[in-house]
């Protein structure tokens, strides 16, 4: 009788401790509906002209702004977002590989509570992180006008050069 009285609070405490752990995923069949906003990126405007350049014997860099990119995070949570950039090679009379393209993001103009850090990317062959939002509290947005720099190889031929630059936000 006395032993039962002593054991009871200990068991109750142990149960509390067990229930304090993170719930493990089991049945994923049932779902509930989430309310709130989404994560959005501005629709692109274009095409963008980097300008013109006379052919030269030595490699030269041509640089131009790409126009504003706006990320709007209306999810209202504490999780951040990551913006990345990738590019195809420039097609034209002379091959200009995506590795010759670099992306320079300025510090973004932020509204709401978020720390948005800009990271320049050289070589856009694979996707590179260029803006990272952390320490987010609630809805936030960021606007930046990046510059694209292309190293035009020596002896590149005259003509029009085209590429596709992709911004991804996730």
């Amino acid at each position: 009788m006395r032993k039962i009285i002593i054991v009871a609070p200990v068991v109750a405490g142990a149960l509390l401790l067990l229930s304090a752990g993170p719930a493990s995923a089991a049945d994923t069949g049932t779902t509930f509906q989430i309310v709130g906003g989404g994560l959005a990126i501005s629709a692109p405007v274009g095409p963008v002209s980097l300008g013109t350049k006379a052919p030269t014997a030595a490699p030269e860099t041509i640089t131009s702004p790409l126009g504003n990119v706006t990320v709007t995070d209306g999810r209202g949570g504490v999780l951040g977002w990551v913006a990345s950039v990738a590019s195809t090679a420039f097609t034209g009379a002379t091959a200009v590989p995506a590795s010759a393209i670099s992306y320079v993001p300025p510090v973004a103009t932020v509204t709401g509570v978020a720390l948005v850090a800009a990271t320049p990317a050289i070589d856009l062959t694979t996707a590179k992180t260029v803006q990272t939002a952390t320490a987010v509290v609630g809805a936030n947005s960021a606007v930046w006008n990046p510059a694209l720099a292309v190293v035009v190889p020596a002896g590149a031929q005259a003509g029009t050069y085209n590429a596709v630059v992709t911004h991804s936000v996730i």
């Binding site: 719930a23 994560l39 095409p47 002209s49 013109t52 209306g74």
Partner: protein, 341 residues
């Protein structure tokens, strides 16, 4: 030979050359001012009921599935621009690199993206409206165990085909763990805290964080300083560049502090969360007077407040029980004594 002009863009080349650094071809100007007011957005509509309280599950598709199982999730794709947009929808590979969740370029596939199908590939969305797309993930019966990452993208592109074409896309992350039974546990440790001073004079605390569990972590958190000179307390300061860590990865999390802070020493307490998982670590640190870093100080796990309250509760309950027992015993003895008398 005068035509030796190397143009990165063509039709608008002459115009652009004349104006120097024009950002966009003139034909795009009517849209450019309006574009700032809207865009293409995505949001998750469904999450598993058992993850109701998990903030990650409200924004990402996070699941643990047995081989052979199938899940359906709906997402809403919205157009907040003043014009109709055509949106291309597709799944693609993603990975976790340098602390960031990053989607692979274009339509790059992986196992997870090949298991993922959408009920619509191309959406024409009127201004100010939304469309719902259903994502189906079918895990093959012979799928290997482990966690995989992917993304479902909503992509828009500028209408023209020459010059630098811009493509913008926004996605929903997929974190899918495959295996029989319960999900692998999520856990992490903070191995050390380092006090440093940036070249611009700001004190910085850097934490070495290690994902010791079987699932990816999306981390956020803050740092508090206590027991400093003159019994000062400071913070909490939000942690920067804390983002995503795959199982086994470790990263440096830095927290920039106010320049007015004394050098210390301070008790630094860093509190980090990923979903429902929360851990606190502490170490005694001192900032260097000049730019540079001090030696990393091993961090100790702080006693969780929640756990502390439970422990105090258990102790109190035990004390009350002992008190009751003593009283009961005392009374029964008195009773026995009286009966004897």
């Amino acid at each position: 030979m005068r035509s030796f002009v190397l143009a990165a863009v063509l039709a608008a080349a002459a115009l652009t050359a004349a104006t120097g650094t024009a950002a966009a071809a003139g034909l795009a100007s009517p849209l450019s001012s309006e574009a700032a007011t809207g865009g293409v957005g995505v949001r998750l509509l469904d999450a598993p009921s058992d993850a109701r309280d998990d903030p990650r599950a409200r924004q990402y598709i996070v699941d643990h599935l047995a081989p052979g199982s199938v899940i359906h999730r709906r997402i809403e794709v919205s157009n907040t621009t003043p014009a109709a947009v055509r949106v291309s929808m597709y799944p693609a590979a993603a990975s976790i690199e340098n602390g960031s969740f990053i989607g692979a370029a274009g339509h790059t596939p992986n196992d997870l993206s090949s298991w993922t199908t959408l009920d619509q590939d191309v959406l024409d969305i009127a201004p100010g409206t939304q469309t719902t797309v259903t994502i189906t993930v079918t895990v093959p019966a012979d799928a290997p165990p482990g966690e995989q990452y992917g993304a479902v993208w909503a992509e828009t592109s500028a209408p023209n085909t020459s010059g630098v074409n811009l493509v913008n896309r926004v996605g929903i992350r997929l974190y899918l763990s495959v295996g029989a039974g319960n999900a692998p546990p999520s856990s992490f440790t903070v191995d050390s805290l380092t006090a440093a001073r940036a070249p611009d004079g700001h004190p910085v605390v850097t934490a070495q964080v290690h994902n010791t569990g079987g699932r990816a972590l999306d981390m956020s958190g803050n740092l508090s300083l206590s027991d400093g000179p003159g019994s000062l307390n400071a913070g909490p300061f939000p942690a920067q560049l804390v983002s995503t860590l795959a199982p086994g990865q470790s990263t440096m999390v830095s927290i920039s502090l106010d320049q007015q802070l004394p050098d210390g020493p301070w008790n630094a307490n860093i509190s980090l969360t990923s979903g429902l998982l929360e851990e606190s670590y502490q170490a005694r640190i001192q900032f260097p007077p000049n730019p540079g870093a001090t030696a990393p100080v091993p961090a100790q796990k702080s006693v969780d407040n929640y756990l502390g309250i439970i422990l105090i509760g258990v102790l109190l309950a035990a004390l009350v029980t002992v008190a009751v027992l003593v009283v009961v015993r005392h009374r029964s003895r008195q009773k026995a004594n009286r009966q004897l008398v």
